[in-house]
Symmetry: C2
Subunit: 336 residues, 2 copies
């Protein structure tokens, strides 16, 4: 079976105590240079590595951070993860990624596991199903550092990183308006998500600015954030079956945007002839899509980096942190 070598192995092989070995390898002044040399060469030879599990137990920290996202097969999240890793690795932290698949239950289990697994902190983007954040509040109040990004909650006072969703949604909607569309629908994720609320606001403000009345019927929610194709198809069908059929649609999510295009394809809805579309998406292959998609892109990589920097600052702070920041980054509009 797989048994890595330990301090004890070196100690009994060389006839020293484990303390001496440990000190020699950690370069303490108390060990003579000759002894150090012997010990180090032997450690090198047998490829000794300190057991991080033992260290975690002793030091009560693991030099690792947990990440909670909806799914990695989402360009926004995979880019954010790359940003997270770029900072974490530089600072000697390891990254444990977990997926909720937009499920509240899964989120609770993953977070519980990460916490008990002694991650030093958490980077969280809430699942579409999550409205109750008690599981997080509990851990946060016990002192586990956490930073929210993208899908945040106001219930927990900590660092947060988001895109300027309202402005992005405003620009996307106004882009449609400038192109002459007036009956603009809005397809979004679950109603309680922060991003849904903010993007809905931006959408409403764009309508208001151009004196277009807001119609509740034009807003369709996908409580599972488009995890099920049927959910998206039903929403689109409902929109297309309205007596006053929309002539454009603003989609508020990465997965949702792609799914929406697939629904169009399957229902043989042509864009922009039958309906125009813009949406939030970080997919790098949108240029290849047909129907094409004018998109609002979030600085995902950078958001991951900033969130990680904030988290590490809290983790490594000697004193409790009470001063928190909400960082808002601008989106950009890619017209296609």
């Amino acid at each position: 079976m797989f048994v890595p070598s330990t301090l004890k192995d070196i100690a009994s092989a060389l006839g020293y105590s484990t303390s001496t070995i440990s000190r020699a390898l950690r370069d303490t002044y108390e060990i003579s240079p000759e002894t150090k040399k012997i010990i180090r060469e032997y450690a090198q030879k047998i490829n000794y590595r300190p057991n991080p599990i033992a260290l975690s137990l002793k030091e009560r920290r693991s030099k690792s951070i947990g990440v909670v996202v909806a799914e990695v097969a989402n360009h926004y999240f995979s880019q954010a993860i790359n940003g997270i890793e770029s900072i974490a690795y530089d600072r000697g932290y390891h990254v444990i990624i977990t997926q909720t698949h937009e499920s509240y239950e899964r989120e609770k289990i993953n977070i519980q596991h990460l916490a008990s697994r002694s991650v030093d902190g958490l980077l969280v983007s809430l699942s579409a199903e999550t409205s109750d954040t008690a599981h997080l509040q509990d851990l946060h109040q016990k002192g586990l550092p956490m930073v929210f990004f993208d899908r945040i909650t106001e219930d927990i006072v900590t660092h947060k990183v988001i895109a300027n969703n309202e402005k992005g949604a405003f620009e996307a909607t106004e882009h449609l308006i400038h192109q002459g569309y007036r009956r603009i629908a809005h397809l979004t994720s679950s109603a309680h998500l922060s991003i849904s609320i903010e993007r809905l606001d931006g959408y409403k403000k764009a309508l208001a600015k151009h004196d277009i009345p807001f119609e509740q019927d034009y807003v369709k929610y996908c409580p599972h954030g488009g995890m099920f194709y049927q959910e998206t198809e039903n929403a689109v069908k409902e929109l297309m079956n309205l007596k006053e059929k929309p002539d454009a649609i603003f989609v508020a999510g990465d997965r949702l945007s792609i799914d929406c295009l697939m629904v169009f394809k399957n229902l043989n809805i042509k864009t922009p002839q039958d309906i125009a579309i813009t949406g939030f998406s970080n997919s790098d292959v949108l240029d290849l899509m047909n129907p094409s998609l004018t998109s609002i892109r979030q600085p995902a990589f950078e958001m991951g980096q900033i969130a990680t920097q904030m988290l590490l600052k809290v983790i490594e702070s000697k004193y409790p942190v009470y001063d928190f920041e909400k960082k808002v980054l601008d989106t950009s509009l890619y017209v296609r």
Copy 2:
């Protein structure tokens, strides 16, 4: 700071020894029902969870498995990861995902970390840069269970799960031949990867069957598996600059296929007018692509599941395992 409650906390709160607490919670017969009740209710109240780090240290296993893939932003891998998680989760194992970004150095670091972090086993798909597997052979020979999937090596005797790459490549190439193409190029990842070799074989066999001579100039390698756009663009340019320009191209990778389409778009190469294309890809949005892409799809989710089942069988075996299997799953051709 964040300090979870321990057995000792319960013990001193209730006036028992830690042994009694431990046994009460683990339902040993030696503890009286009344005592158990008291202890359990208190544990429930303070939301006690056994510290997995301490357990890992003692039991020398972590109930977690490490996964090494090129990148999660790749539909083949993200689907495989979902398959892995579906099995691991059911069996009480946790999954730690790491990305190599096709870098050999990163692969070595990730694997070293996973091993020392006491994962019970490894699911590995090699990076495009990796030709030397000494870092894995070392761990494997020391007894760390590992299963390879997709990009495998023959240097290590263990379970392996792959798609029938040769057959898939054969079908893809023959599909092009059946459509009347004769000058068929082949764009692939780094030359030493198992998938590259197998797919090249299938490509050659299809040519041979139809009496089309194989031309070395028609095969272009991307040593970094398409991690850099320029690499792909250069390869495509080289193909298009040949005096006998190819009329079709068979692309041997998920990322590569998408990148190739982007190159076409940027260089204003029309398909299928200028050149036809088929490629390996598990992207679920290929239907939306323009130019479109006839694709060979691997059963990624299932491959992840099977690899995980194999790994857990090795991990949980009481005796050393010497009997290994190479499972080959069929691909499917999606004509577009």
